[in-house]
Symmetry: C2
Subunit: 487 residues, 2 copies
């Protein structure tokens, strides 16, 4: 049965997305009277929790320490680094009053925490012996977005911001950390089955205060690229302003070197956008609040058989539960099995176990895969083995299907005009490029509905542009420039 | 070895508390230039995480659903319920500006979320069939405290606020939920070993908008009572104002009935205050980031023996790890065992395993209990069994010791003057009372350093005041009135 929502591809994507968030009870958006903020509903909250646990595990395993910094930044601290201020002051919220008093020092709601943490690091870190330091926190941040807001994608209260911040003795150590962060994010997005391109942003689009920014972009079904993660080499921008001085191995004193990297609930928006179909959500088992739902099919005309079916279903439920799965037994009496199927398909439960008279009598179970819609009839003793195998396959299938769709939409053109045409159709275009950013800015950033994503990173991707000419100036090409419509 | 901090009892408590937070690396307070806000450091963050997991488990098991509501409350929503506004408007932070614009509608940083949730419930809940609803969230809240701020105890950014909110068809259902909430909190505080008194607050001290408030109070080592949890029956105060109308079983329409209940990082402050000694923290194993630390004692003059000891320690560590304990092997070479002992005692690790030449040769382990400072020598095969038993004993010992200290400080007096004297010495006093709140207010609230906690709740505690006279008016006593110095 299909859900009420419109088609997710093309122009109806936004409408589809808001519909699926509402119907699957993930996120209530657009009804609370503050623009650009939403409410995480119980089911959505559980998805969010498993996504957070996934990134937390990756960070904890790589020596990151979780902390929690204040939300409020005094204007005096906020204004110290001028490039950073220029980048953010147009979009910060100001607390100017408390109780009945005007504040002497106005407070900013954090748009990100480089300023706060650097201030604290100047108190905490004195010696190279304490380094490297890798901190992270998962918090809400605030940005007064002037562009059209969208649930999870462009918010004024980003409620799920994971920001990591590291401090090092040398530029080289920070450079190594940038690559470590990129690899952590690759693993994270791979676990969720979200495809991505990794590009070095042009200077005009880097994080305010960074030496450079590396970004992960994916592509939503409406053909617009979405930035889902960024990694910044911050150099000594903040350490020099906030006086984070470190005694080095050679006993000299110098400012520390920093990186920072962040992701947000855009990751969850991407999971939803990629893995859904006309019936609704399909959740990767890793983050599904319910991985397996057991639905008994009651026997209408025989009380004893009915009881047997219920007991058998309860038994299957208990076995799955003991094996550590997030499993639900849907024994609601007021609903028909078909209504339950509809509901759990809409909510993206990866695997359904159907148990009726036949299954009970023959000691079998029927499994239904949400992603491929396949049914399997399994001997009861094979239950756990089959569930384990199929859940793994679902995660893998979703990832491969998403990458296939994504890869097909990345095309390389020798001519800028063809690339622009393709971007306007909803793809990501690559053109051979000499590397001159000023030229790229002049040629592309003024165009409507076309933006620069940046260039591939040699240490990550091999690019062959032998004998190619730059599509912008006709000179020798050294890399590709990537273009897309962007959120 | 004793820690650097002063004595925790009596007047030096505040100083001791700030010292232990700093020395044990829990919470950085007083250095960030916004009053009443702090930074959770990595070790403290892990304690906080385990405390949160503990309450989350209790709430999830009792059918509470976790959600996440917006931080920003528009003035129009905030001002709807007049009693609530009167209670909070003197202490809310106002966002009046965003980017370069003055906001048309000013925004309040949530001091609590009854207003926001009631607004959403008016959209979500229509029928008794959807009830009861039990929501909770764990968030930061903001209160512009004018009293002296204190880390974790009186903050302007409360970073760890668990607020639960329920909705019911009838007053009776809400009443039942109040008792359920009280029982959940009792279990929670018992798990952490924090002693408490449960009192019904007088009307002048209830939550702004509630019918009544039940509070949990504990006593800190300086002799001041600390409110560590509250449960409110909200009646129809908010549902009538925010129009949360529900179709009832009998098909009539009426406003729903609500309760709310909250706890904060004051719980963590209490754990620290109760269970520490002159060496530092003692953490209940349930919330200890490290439950067991394994410290090898290197053999100085024999490389082969040294290697054997290290391998044996590694082995013990692996076995504890596999058994599911949060365990650390402290194999740092630059520190002497005694320095490691000092550090982990200060940080409150409940159990230490010491492994030297003798233990290795004899296939034994030496266990050291942080709470009683006892040592045990155990045969290696008994390791897991002994660790499991001792950790349980530590939790139990801490709880009993805390309750003993607390109970000894609650005394009953027939005369108000004696009660006041005792309160000023740092105890909790009970006096027989007729139940007239106006009288209590007149007699007590104007006194310096003495406040009313309230009266016991008959459904929770049996109170025998047969033949007693009210210490305030001389009339017949029906219950006790409890008095204390209060934070």
């Amino acid at each position: 049965m299909v859900s009420k929502c419109p088609k997710k591809e093309g122009e109806s994507f936004s409408e589809w997305f808001e519909c699926i968030l509402r119907e699957a009870e993930i996120y209530d958006y657009g009804r609370y009277p503050v623009k650009g903020v939403g409410v995480w509903l119980p089911y959505g909250f559980q998805i969010r929790k498993h996504v957070i646990e996934t990134i937390r595990k990756l960070l904890d395993e790589t020596g990151h320490e979780e902390i929690l910094l204040p939300l409020l930044i005094p204007e005096t601290i906020f204004r110290k680094e001028s490039e950073h201020v220029r980048g953010f002051e147009g979009e910060v919220y100001w607390v100017t009053k408390a109780g009945f008093n005007e504040l002497d020092v106005r407070l900013v709601l954090r748009p990100t925490s480089e300023t706060v943490l650097s201030y604290m690091e100047s108190l905490w870190i004195k010696s190279y012996r304490q380094l490297p330091k890798k901190y992270y926190q998962i918090v809400n941040i605030f940005r007064y977005e002037t562009k059209m807001t969208k649930p999870m994608i462009r918010l004024r209260e980003v409620s799920t911001f994971k920001e990591a911040h590291t401090l090092h003795e040398s530029f080289e150590d920070a450079e190594r950390l940038v690559m470590e962060a990129v690899n952590i994010y690759r693993e994270f997005f791979d676990l969720l089955g979200i495809p991505y391109l990794i590009s070095k942003r042009p200077q005009w689009d880097k994080f305010a205060g960074a030496l450079y920014t590396i970004a992960f972009d994916t592509l939503l079904p409406d053909g617009k690229a979405l930035q889902i993660g960024t990694v910044h080499n911050l150099g000594q921008t903040f350490t020099s302003v906030y006086d984070v001085k470190i005694q080095k191995r050679d006993e000299t004193i110098d400012y520390g070197w920093q990186t920072s990297y962040g992701i947000s609930e855009r990751v969850i928006a991407s999971v939803i956008a990629f893995h859904s179909d006309e019936r609704g959500l399909i959740l990767p088992p890793l983050i599904a609040p319910i991985q397996v739902v057991v639905v008994p099919i009651p026997v209408v005309d025989n009380a004893e058989k009915r009881k047997e079916v219920m007991e058998y279903a309860q038994d299957v439920y208990s076995e799955l539960k003991s094996a550590g799965y997030r499993v639900k037994l849907d024994d609601r009496e007021e609903l028909r099995p078909v209504d339950k199927y509809f509901e759990w398909e809409l909510k993206g439960v990866p695997l359904r176990v159907e148990i009726g008279k036949r299954e009970t009598e023959q000691r079998k179970v029927t499994l239904f895969r949400r992603d491929t819609l396949q049914r399997y009839v399994i001997e009861r003793p094979r239950l756990i083995e089959a569930v384990s195998t199929i859940l793994k396959e679902i995660g893998e299938y979703l990832r491969q299907r998403a990458w296939k769709w994504f890869s097909e939409r990345i095309k390389t053109f020798d001519s800028l005009d063809e690339a622009i045409d393709y971007v306007r159709q909803g793809g990501i275009a690559q053109i051979p490029w000499c590397g001159d950013e000023r030229e790229a800015y002049e040629a592309i950033e003024k165009l409507e509905a076309v933006s620069v994503l940046g260039a591939p990173i040699p240490a990550i991707e091999r690019v062959d542009v032998t004998d190619k000419k730059c599509a912008l100036c006709g000179g020798k090409a050294y890399t590709y420039l990537r273009l897309a419509k962007r959120y």
